[in-house]
Symmetry: C2
Subunit: 337 residues, 2 copies
């Protein structure tokens, strides 16, 4: 497996939980990646709202810690994020700014700039892919660069690459799953404790599982966006998240969960896409013994195929290290196969 | 994705359920594989105990049907299986003879002959890999050929390739799972219907889920063999199935299943391998809400990793088309990535 050693210079744009996780994982795995894949990964630039820090030889852990802590001594004075993407020599940009489903910015600009500057792009940002999938993929192809995005759907759960590689030769008929851990947590707790939605939502917000504005999660927008990415990559659609029929979980009552349970079902927020163009997010009855009936913050997807039958994958849908794991597997996939 | 069209000539050795499934799938998918992967797959030879049939331009469906029906007019008179592997020009041999865990034959001889003749090998036969893993992999490497075996573990469940590709960058800590659908079926039915082992075994034999001699399944041998293949590929061990501590399911009673259930557990035959060399097959308590608690003939594995956390895959562990799906994804993996 080991090839000639290859240095790959990375920049990270967006340095919140996910960007920070990527830096941590690249540092922690540096030696192992060299030994196993012959890849010498160096972070040569990081950008976020605070500014930009660069080091063409690779940023050290103390430099990264200073940047994270807001120490202005490490900032590249007067350099914008786009300057960094264009002017700092590097092979691959990790785009990890927050998802924006209105216009996809600033992710779209970052990705376009990077591809046009000849960088590969690996992203966890769902907005650009849910709004401009085809345009971005075509740009990547024209520039001979890769645009990968395993982290956008299901966190560490290897869904997109699994369908592309491991189920090669299969025709995918449908994908159905729980793609939002916050909703799954809320419905699980409501069912287990017979508690109303508002109560469990507050609890989830207190322990950091739901955001202070939970709309995107509980109204199904996040699930819809992920579904669109699956639709476009697996079924070659050219959908945007506005094409998805969406209903969230805010109307679900403990009584409904109990009635369902007594009849042998759980209620889950299910995203559903199939080869005929169905694109739907809604609360659905799931048989208690179905592999889709996973609890807590877990994500799950069942892929229906013509040869392999139903394949189900379950994993942690969120978390900075989990997202970084997906980003790292994308990076390795570009260089080491 | 489409490259220059490439003709790949296959032979199939062993023409039972799995070999027949491969032929069926290659025929059914011929046009799609050309369009999607630029692969023109042609079956130029088939061998089993009846003899050998060959056609250097690719066997037609009627020729294959005649061979299957025992029509001697399509047999290549005087040609042995080894002659075919050596002398018929082809790029890839599919080895699908039954698993033999005593000495791995005739699979070992077929695989060695094919690799030495410069053919890639894709196999569903567990025996050779459970007994001579390292030797066979080294031979393949020396000859610059690939030896792939996704179908040996978990049928259509993409376990080996998922760990290799999609979890790249992760360190695998352990793999734990239900790798035998017959045992899972028996334990599921015993628990659901409160029926004794012997009764459910007979039922399983009647509907073709258990073999007339069920020893390999119910004594845990089949699970142990699969565990060894995982240990060798994922943890780079050099184990054989004799290194596995094995206990089967023949002592499990409906009472034990009921007691476990009342306490919130199912009893499942679990194969367990970890990075410290643990290799064990035994009935284990599995929490009812654990993703490992799948029922019927399903297979499941939970892969514990350092970054991605626990990833669980569920799928059909057996069936000719499912095995053929895994074999086909291996073939595509060799040529089309």
């Amino acid at each position: 497996m080991v090839a000639v050693e290859k240095t790959v210079r990375l920049t990270i744009v967006g340095f919140g939980h996910v960007g920070g996780g990527v830096a941590e994982v690249v540092m922690r795995k540096h030696q192992a990646l060299k030994e196993i894949y012959g890849l010498d990964l160096r972070i040569v630039g990081i950008a976020d709202l605070k500014g930009v820090t660069i080091n063409e030889k690779g940023l050290s852990e103390p430099e990264i810690a200073k940047f994270r802590a807001g120490d202005e001594s490490v900032l590249a004075y007067g350099m914008s994020t786009e300057d960094m993407i264009k002017e700092v020599e590097h092979e691959l940009m990790v785009e990890a700014t927050p998802t924006n489903v209105v216009d996809g910015e600033p992710g779209v600009t970052h990705i376009v700039t990077a591809l046009e500057s000849g960088r590969h792009v690996v992203t966890s940002n769902k907005g650009p892919l849910a709004l401009h999938y085809r345009r971005l993929m075509e740009l990547a192809e024209r520039r001979g660069r890769e645009l990968r995005f395993e982290a956008t759907v299901g966190g560490a759960m290897p869904l997109i690459s699994m369908i592309r590689n491991n189920l090669a030769g299969n025709r995918v008929i449908s994908i159905k799953g729980i793609l939002n851990g916050t909703c799954n947590y809320i419905l699980t707790r409501m069912g287990e404790e017979n508690l109303p939605y508002e109560h469990v939502l507050r609890e989830a917000q207190e322990i950091g599982i739901a955001e202070s504005d939970p709309t995107k999660d509980v109204e199904g927008v996040d699930t819809a966006v992920k579904l669109v990415i699956l639709a476009n990559t697996v079924f070659d659609m050219d959908a945007t998240y506005r094409d998805v029929k969406v209903r969230g979980i805010t109307d679900i009552t403990p009584d409904a969960l109990k009635l369902a349970h007594d009849a042998g079902y759980a209620i889950k927020l299910i995203g559903d896409v199939d080869h005929e163009g169905r694109l739907e997010v809604a609360p659905r009855l799931v048989p208690l013994r179905d592999p889709l009936n996973v609890n807590g913050t877990l994500n799950v997807a069942t892929i229906r195929t013509d040869l392999a039958g139903d394949i189900t994958v379950i994993g942690k849908g969120a978390g900075p290290i989990e997202a970084a794991s997906a980003i790292l597997s994308d990076i390795i996939g570009i260089y080491a196969r």
